[in-house]
Subunit: 460 residues, 2 copies
């Protein structure tokens, strides 16, 4: 029977001094005159398995020709390893070549630059760094599902193609089945009646608005799906396609919202630390020194809660020469975020933001100037989540949309949610890749997405 490397590491006593058969790939191959050593991986466990073979094998000379990257099947005997930092290895009885690999295989057992590996995106999950990163991605995604499902949230698939613009930012990709060389027109405008949906349609920037309709039916719901921005920014933290988690909770105010944000984040961080020991040790050692300590500290910390007004006051009193002067009524810059988390030595919820720099759907506070919005600032990551209590008052919502000169026709249903048994409700959004950057220490969003989409890049 073929086993996984993971099986060996899970319970070696079951296999010690026994024969096993494994299938996987050669990560490194060190050849000596009478021996050979293969660092063998099969993708099921972060640590590789050492295969030892010697010239007593009939095919010894053949095996020595196997290049790094080749797929092989090894039958052998599990023995204790003479190496100090290794508990066991496999003494090969037979090594079969399953899939050859040429000598010019791009992934060699040496340090490759991340830029180079981005060009080899279809091969980079075979390197230790990306094995770790994309397993963190998978396990963190599952932790998020588990957190919400264990707490009776309904997983809601928000529509990807949409006619509503949640953020009103207009930075949306068009979706069309038209031949771009032959767009039907009528009276100088695009004749959308001839397009697939008979209306202009775009890729969603957020599933929140639709999620609210589920919160008002199920009490608790969450989305976890792709979202898009047609933004031409080439930064380390922007991609045109990314995944978002957007929970939405009925009968929940901003305070309750923050409790969930804090609890969820700690849960996911802990889940990853508990389940991916070797991956996290590797990332701590080679990507961000102190990573594990940073994450453990987050789990143990109590998140501070402070209003935007008070945060600005702290910033204004700070003995710091700012690039951007902190001002009441205005947004908070990266340098400010950093100072605030250092000031409180931990994560900080900044609440009650000036309404003019926040979205139309956020609940207007009694001061008529601020909204019940919150950003979570985390040391070493900046803003990692944002949420708000939603405006549940029909008249106030309509008034705000009118002030912003928004088109209400495609959002009539959203407004009507306030008419038909509307209630206090809140939610938040977390960019999944932001979380992964924080969890892995990898600083470029292109390195936490298997096949990133950024301006000029839609390869693979």
């Amino acid at each position: 029977m073929i086993i996984d490397i993971k099986d060996l590491y899970k319970d070696i006593t079951k296999y010690m001094d026994k024969d096993v058969k494994v299938q996987g790939w050669i990560r490194n191959h060190r050849k000596q005159k009478e021996f050979g050593f293969i660092d063998f991986f099969d993708g099921t466990f972060f640590k590789h398995l050492q295969i030892v073979y010697d010239n007593k094998l009939e095919s010894f000379e053949e095996i020595q020709k196997y290049h790094v990257g080749s797929a092989i099947e090894v039958t052998g005997h599990v023995i204790e390893s003479p190496k100090e930092n290794q508990d066991f290895e496999v003494q090969a009885k037979e090594i079969k070549l399953l899939g050859n690999c040429p000598e010019d295989y791009p992934i060699q057992p040496k340090k490759h630059s991340r830029e180079f590996l981005r060009e080899q995106a279809y091969l980079r999950p075979r390197t230790p760094l990306f094995q770790a990163v994309f397993r963190v991605r998978s396990v963190a995604a599952y932790a998020i599902h588990k957190y919400f499902q264990d707490r009776d949230y309904i997983y809601f698939h928000a529509p990807i193609i949409t006619s509503s613009d949640c953020e009103g930012a207009g930075e949306m990709f068009h979706v069309t089945s038209f031949d771009l060389l032959d767009i039907p027109k009528i009276d100088g405008e695009v004749d959308y009646s001839k397009d697939m949906f008979a209306s202009p349609s775009s890729l969603t920037v957020s599933g929140q608005l639709e999620a609210e309709s589920f919160a008002l039916a199920y009490k608790r719901t969450y989305t976890f799906g792709p979202t898009f921005r047609a933004e031409n920014s080439n930064t380390r933290v922007h991609a045109n396609e990314f995944w978002m988690i957007e929970p939405e909770i009925a009968f929940c105010d901003l305070e309750g919202d923050m409790e969930i944000m804090e609890d969820m984040l700690k849960y996911v961080v802990k889940y990853v630390l508990d389940n991916l020991k070797y991956e996290m040790e590797f990332l701590d050692k080679f990507v961000e020194n102190g990573l594990i300590q940073k994450l453990k500290k987050l789990i143990d910390s109590k998140f501070t809660r402070i209003t935007h007004h008070d945060a600005i006051e702290i910033l204004q009193k700070a003995p710091v020469k700012w690039e951007f002067e902190p001002k009441q009524g205005e947004d908070i810059a990266k340098e400010h975020e950093k100072y605030i988390t250092e000031y409180f030595d931990g994560p900080v919820f900044i609440t009650d933001w000036p309404k003019d720099i926040k979205a139309f759907y956020m609940k207007l506070n009694d001061d008529n100037e601020t909204v019940a919005a919150v950003d979570l600032e985390v040391p070493g990551a900046g803003e990692i989540m944002g949420g708000s209590q939603r405006e549940e008052d029909y008249d106030k919502l309509v008034k705000r949309m009118d002030e912003l000169e928004m088109d209400k026709t495609t959002l009539d249903w959203y407004i009507n949610l306030r008419k038909f048994g509307g209630c206090i409700h809140s939610g938040f959004g977390m960019g999944f890749e932001r979380l992964l950057i924080y969890l892995t220490g990898v600083e470029n969003i292109r390195d936490v997405i298997p096949y990133p989409r950024t301006p000029g890049n839609c390869d693979f």
Copy 2:
């Protein structure tokens, strides 16, 4: 403290004869002179909670005015119910209106047609039918994640925007940041160099090709994400946007693939039956009589395996007057699928299909005529999954792509997977909505997607 209705149903002994507070909505309101009865739901449990109030309450007259659909908060005493089919109810001490609802609320406690409810898509999750359907959707999605994660599959987010056309069918939506009224042109062609990705880009029809690269790094992987078809078909089973699950496994042949398909399907069906008793009973009673029995039978059955060739022979010998005559080398029609599952009285894997009616990436069998492909036919659902062993031979793959006159430039990386340690690997795809139609008995795909996208419909 506010509790969920779910808490009461989970362990009523904890709450019996005690005071509780709940928040939710009025599903039905029956008023009598001295009493009132409210069918109350909060979305956390399928069964509603009965609230009883009487004219000893100061606000009795006010409460009697609350319409169906209103959001309320009820404080009351949990008592045993005098009603026969109900274990407990809440005797209200106070009922507060949290959110009003007008009398013309579209969702009334009566039978609404599904067509009508589609127009009210943002309200329909509040009806028992859609409460059930979308909870099945959520729980089935989680079951799928749990199945694969428990078995060390890596969850892979395939890119949504893509430059490759997996199926070669060409039915893809264009994605662009161009102003559709002003498409830049060069030499009579679209000047894609000016578009966001500097290349033509589309919405993915499948994440399989990219998933293969993860299988060849992690051994086991699966996708679970949205896929798209720009197909103008108005049928009960087609939507332009739907979710797919696409597992991919290295060192796995078609036989192994079928084992996973069978095991996974049974697991998910069982998980839903075990966890959603009341939802499934409701669906069995009001949507598809015999639903639960059908699903239980699937779990207990051994799936038959038969080649396409043998299936055609059975069909040709069948004492049936076909609309489409079954022929060797040709596809199998709906009526044939139905006959085959009835013939074997259970699910049937049909394998080894004529290569000309299957995709380019499927492994060519030794006969040079058929490919190692499989469709799973399930009684009452038809084809519910399709899979194949992938062509791992570099030369054969290139030859097949050339025969089909495919453009190899955007798929060079995919072909190269066969060069760099390629190995036998297999996978399959399951349309999530197909599964949900099977699980719920609801026959129209528009009723298992929260906000369906179909030709002419991109509302919400």
